[in-house]
Amino acid sequence: MWAYVLRRILYNIPVYMGVILFLMLLLRLTDPVTAYLGKNPTYDQYITKRTNFGLDKPLLGDWQIGGRTWQEATGGFGGSHMVKGPGKGNAHVQWTLELPQGTYRLQATWPTRTGEDGQRVSLGSSGLVWWRVFEGNLHLRTIPTDQTRPPRSTEAYGVGWHELGTIEITRGEPLRVVLIDDSNKPVLADAIRVVPVRVSQGEPPEPFTIDATPDASDIEVKDDPWTFTRFVRSLWDNQYFSALAGIVTLDFQHYSWSVESQSVGNVIGSSIIPSLSVTLPVLVLTTLISTCLGLIASFNRGKPLDRVVMFLAVLGMSVSYLVYVIVGQYFGAQWPRLAFNVEIFATFGYKPVLPLWSQVQQSLQDSGVEDPGFFRTLVAWFASVPGSLSKWPYYCLLPVLIGVIVAMGYDTRYYRAVMVEECNKDYIRTARAKGASNSRVMFRHMLRNALIPIITRVMISLPFIIMGSLLVEIYFGIPGMGFKLFDAITNKDFPVVEAITAVLAAIFILTNILTDVLYAVVDPRVTLK
């Protein structure tokens, strides 16, 4: 028995590791930070979001041996340019210019080719490449550029130039223009062009360009070479293992991106009760009703009653869930208000069905208690439970009814199939032969044995219970897990999406193990397999 339980647990460890890996790879298909921030973020935002979510670490390991140094390639201004694979800002190409005090326009170019329609097409593939400009050590500005488009602000020396911006040199220190490799696609470094606008003394000099070649004197090329020690370190210090560790230690300290004051743990914690307040009644009601219906149908199988029930179940299954929700909301909440001027259910919105701990504490403090202890708060909390719970029907009953109607078709069919299979078993025949009454056969013999598949189905639906019903929650504005997940998806709030999916998968696997164990307890044959 224990060996069996242990085996089930061990078996589920690689499965869960696979889930995290899959989710991680899926959510990294697009760059989360750029997807969230859009095309024109500031460098600070970019870096904060990235480190906050741990994206500055390698995903699984520092495999990338090539592409860590700047390579010379042909094409672009002056016939050659430099290219480097994706990096994290440790490598750069730096142009150092001695310029008199004044105002200058900075431009940059990167190589292009001529496309089929005669238009210029950029050779670059990174949509976000950072240029940082310093005077001495003073940071002047950081500019994002999109290297997937050809540079085309101005035209000079036969190539297009992209305007980086106007800068002012006030202290007379050397100007440093740094192209950093902080990107998830290869970065191209070709040339910059300086157009003097005003200088403090005399006529502004002619515009000039500086081509990036590794051996030029005013250019510093810094590589980010692959080292074995770093590789070894990255094998455990990477995004994957930190995510796994975070879940195993129940550490959800990442901050949500769209609601910056909330950690993902808060988001998940605050959404469980609203989800449960709808899905738990749905589960209980549907299981009760559809087991009864299944039992009745299976006992009358082949007769008109069975046919009618099954036909209704199929009919119910053939209508879209969304239609139930929309029509249900109209006839449950909207129509009574219009036709009879009575308000039975809320159309949209939610009030906590259980009092919030912090609110109870607050109200105690407001009423003059200096420091409400745990026990005192607990008593007050229990005292306010009925008040909160009385709001449940107004906000949640209609969604529950809709959920029951939707789930009924599927469940009734399933339970009927289970019961019919039990009907054909030998022990039922024996019971009947003994002269047991119909109801005794039904409830004493059959239902008891059919409990195993029923329990399995209920257990399997537990994660969905916690997840809540996405559509109903969105439609009725119930801030449960489904609502939060959808919110996070539309806001591209990757930490929340990843945390919610990972937690749901963990719950799913835990219930799986629990089901297996329960099975083993109920049916000793299972452990022998």
Binding site: Y321, L322, V323, I326
Partner: protein, 482 residues
């Protein structure tokens, strides 16, 4: 089950010609059991109708595309024009027009008249009204074939009529409000004389209101006649098409609900078919390999599907559709169409989500078959692995492939509705999901035509597939309870 199925194979071995195979299928228990189920035969017919409409739409579009390449312009042919995407996206009348049987309210009729007249007036403000109206035209309704001056005169008359009816309608509304107030007063009044007076006033108001209503109605009839004179409802075949277009009303952007629902058949069939093919092929291939080869292959595949099925299905679907929908990738072999503008994210999401069930079932079945006596004896006779796979395993798991195919088809169509509602489903073309989610605000205004039409169209196909897959399961799997 193995008995009947292996029996079928024996027959097939004896007479491998196509005719023999057909008759052997006819003689099989499964076929006879399926054909006995009348509901299943009807369902088959319904499915055939839906699929042939979808094929017709695809065919018309293909013909138009081929014609364009060859240099023959087919886009004005009736079938091609009406089955094109454009026909389902074009405005054909005023917004939210109710369908047949339901007469529009006075309020709505007034709005419709205003809608038509303002379009005609806009055209007449231009230098060349005829071509201007050509661009504004609503389906079959074009300007009447009369001299321009006469049309202009008709328009002026109609606009005058509209102005008076607007005023009268305002009066009507005021009267109605007064009536409501008076009735409220009556409820509060207690003195007998007051009540008598109020009752008299109410009767008077009612009379006035009825009279005002009568005039508004009469004027509306006149205006409608003027509009009819300006842009006559077409006669003959064109008139029939026009009537058909407005048969089920228009949506909130004045597009024909019926046309959109019909075009959606194509989208639904496409989504269902492609997703089901991807899921079933992947699932069958992996499941059969896992069950048949066992060992490491089995472990790897079981691990893969356990992993994917550990994420709740709706979450997996949403996240995959979202991620693929936000990829900035162009589709190969097209001129710059982005992936998120196509149905590809949905195919991927359905493929990733739905392959698990067939894989699991086929793996179980293949494992069972591998240990059957006749397979063992074939192995001992020296038959190769691939021979056994082709000869014994694949034919015997084919029924699972069919059943899963039809179940996934249903799943894909129903999930499309949810994804479209969440905004990560069908984009830029009509689908039942898009129609249902667009009717969200219409239902609040008690307009049920769009949601009703989409639901009925979808209901037909999904119900047919539900009945069909039930019958398939009954026919092939005696354990599936009857």
């Amino acid at each position: 089950m193995s008995g009947s199925l292996s029996n079928r194979n024996v027959v097939a071995d004896v007479s491998p010609s196509s005719e023999g195979r057909l008759s052997s299928i006819r003689r099989s228990r499964a076929y006879r059991s399926f054909i006995r189920d009348k509901a299943a035969v009807v369902a088959c017919g319904v499915i055939v109708i839906y699929v042939s409409i979808a094929l017709l739409i695809v065919g018309a579009q293909l013909a138009a595309a081929v014609g364009q390449r060859v240099g023959v312009d087919l886009s004005d042919t009736f079938i091609v024009r009406e089955l094109s995407l454009k026909a389902s996206l074009d405005r054909v009348g005023p917004d939210s027009l109710p369908g047949f049987l339901e007469t529009p309210t006075t309020d709505k009729r007034l709005q419709n008249a205003e809608f038509h007249l303002s379009r005609i007036r806009r055209a007449f403000e231009r230098d060349d009204p005829l071509t201007a109206f050509e661009n504004e035209q609503l389906a079959e309704r074009t300007l009447a074939d009369k001299p321009l001056d006469e049309l202009r005169r008709l328009l002026e008359v109609a606009l005058e009529q509209l102005a008076t009816v607007d005023e009268d309608y305002l009066d009507l509304e005021i009267l109605a409000e007064e009536l409501v107030d008076a009735r409220l007063d009556l409820v509060e009044a207690t003195a007998h004389e007051d009540r008598q007076e109020l009752l008299r006033a109410i009767a008077d108001l009612e009379k006035q209101r009825n009279a005002a209503f009568q005039t508004v109605e009469e004027q509306l009839v006149q205006i409608e006649a003027s509009i009819e004179a300006l842009i006559p409802t077409p006669k003959g075949f064109r008139g029939l098409v026009y009537k058909a277009r407005l048969l089920l009303g228009t949506d909130s952007q004045g597009r024909s609900i019926l046309w959109r629902a019909i075009y959606s058949i194509r989208v639904a069939t496409q989504v269902g078919l492609v997703s089901a093919i991807i899921a079933v092929v992947v699932g069958a291939f992996l499941g059969a390999s896992a069950g048949f080869f066992g060992g490491w292959v089995d472990h790897a595949i079981v691990w893969l599907y356990s992993t994917l099925s550990s994420v709740p299905y709706i979450v997996l679907l949403t996240v995959v559709a979202f991620v693929f929908g936000s990829l900035q990738v162009t589709v190969p072999f097209t001129d710059g169409v982005q992936v998120h503008q196509t149905l590809i994210p949905m195919y991927v999401a359905f493929g990733v989500t739905f392959w698990i069930a067939p894989c699991r079932q086929i793996r179980g079945e293949a494992m069972k078959i591998r240990s059957l006596d006749y397979v063992q004896s074939a192995t001992s006779l020296g038959a190769g692995r691939f021979y056994i796979m082709r000869r014994h395993v694949i034919p015997n798991v084919l029924f699972l492939v069919f059943i899963n195919f039809s179940l996934i088809f249903i799943g894909a169509i129903k999930s499309e509705v949810i994804l479209s509602f969440l905004g990560i489903g069908v984009v830029g073309q009509p689908s039942w999901g898009v129609m249902i989610s667009e009717s969200k605000s219409e239902v609040l205004n008690q307009f049920f035509w769009q949601i009703g039409t989409a639901t009925v169209f979808m209901f037909g196909l999904v119900l047919a597939f539900n009945v069909f897959s039930d019958a398939l399961q009954d026919a092939f799997d005696p354990k599936h309870a009857r």
